[in-house]
Amino acid sequence: MKEQHFTNEGIKALEKMATEGAQEASGALSKLIGQKMSVATVAVRSVPIERVSEFIAQPEERVTTILMSLSGDVGGQIMLIYPQQSAVNVADFLAKRSLGVTRELDEFDKSALKESGNIIAGSFLAAISNYLNVNMIESTPDLATDMLKATVDTAIAKFVGAQPSEAIAMEINFGMSTPETSEASKIVPELQTKGYFILLLDISSAKKVMTSLKGISGGERMIQRGGDIKE
């Protein structure tokens, strides 16, 4: 397939990089919401752009998507997607309300969620910029609450339209839990808070990333697929 620009080794290297980024991002989110958070899974997939949303949820699932564009040495787009229940949970955390108070997001919540996108993306990018030694800057975030596929495909159309080349999508799935909710969420699914982080890179940027990754000697950390980091 034409979209397959990454080898298995390349994907593994990206997963390693993404895990570093995800650790930073979860640390930033922990500080932001004042709760201890952990990253449950990190998965990187290289998929054709038309299929990006398929790996997240059903096309009509209601989500809040925070969109940022990426500039600097590497061009692309970033999406942070919260399933709607998770979006209201994060809004409750951010506003220091009891979990479950919020049913619909108001303007204040949306603004706070955008800021969460800014901080998560910023810390993620800072980590991988450092890892790759490239400069990556995210734009101010925008937000839409609607059907998953409507928000993701719009972001993809914008991306493809701006630069008529192929794109590579990397997906990083965050499972988040706090000490207070991790046990309870097994019984009450509404307490589960999760998010999906998608990085779209055009081919020239993806190649730059791969070249930088090849220059990095790996080995000090092993990543279990979908699991924790082993030192």
């Binding site: 034409k2 038309e50 299929r51 949303s53 059903q58 096309p59 009509e60 209601r62 969109l67 564009s69 101010t140 925008d142 937000l143 839409a144 609450t145 609607d146 059907m147 998953l148 596929k149 409507a150 928000t151 993701v152 495909d153 719009t154 972001a155 993809i156 159309a157 914008k158 493809v160 339209g161 008529p164 080349s165």
Partner: protein
């Protein structure tokens, strides 16, 4: 319902499908993309396309169903192959929303451009637009019943 489920053909972004007699063509979660349905009421044949962009800027020969003009050409061609007549075709245009305020505003949103491109192309081909539900800032889902020509649009907001 189960009977209907078995007749449903899903069409994702950058794709197009055709159906006859009692098929149901469905596209879920349409944002700035545009969905065009073409229906021949005499032949009971229909097609649904879901392109994402108004223009093929790079004149690429790949992924043609991403683009409004190419997708409409493909629909007409495949419908004519199964016996539908271009002069009998009725079009409906759905989608083209402006989902993100900051990213999708200048000069005209992708959704607006998609809707305009679809209307222009259909006009050029001499195909009548019998219904139009485009613009706004809400995502849509569409089910097109090829037996009746009925197109059902739903939103989640």
């Amino acid at each position: 319902m189960n009977d209907n489920e078995s007749k449903i053909i899903d069409i994702s972004m950058s794709d197009m499908k055709v159906a006859r007699k009692d098929g149901l063509l469905r596209s879920s979660g349409i944002g700035s993309c545009i969905v065009i349905t073409l229906f021949d009421p005499l032949k009971k044949a229909g097609a649904l396309a879901h392109p994402m962009l108004a223009k093929n800027i790079g004149n690429t020969t790949e992924h043609l169903l991403r683009f409004v003009d190419d997708a409409i050409d493909a629909m007409i061609s495949v419908l004519e192959k199964i016996g539908a007549k271009k002069s009998q075709l009725e079009a409906k245009v759905i989608g083209g929303a402006n989902m993100f305020k900051v990213f999708d505003k200048n000069p005209e949103s992708i959704g607006f451009q998609n809707a305009e491109a679809a209307k222009k192309k259909l006009e050029k081909e001499g195909i009548r637009i019998v219904a139009n539900d485009t613009g706004g800032n809400v995502g849509r889902s569409v089910i097109f019943d090829v037996k009746t020509g009925l197109v059902e649009v739903k939103t989640k907001i």
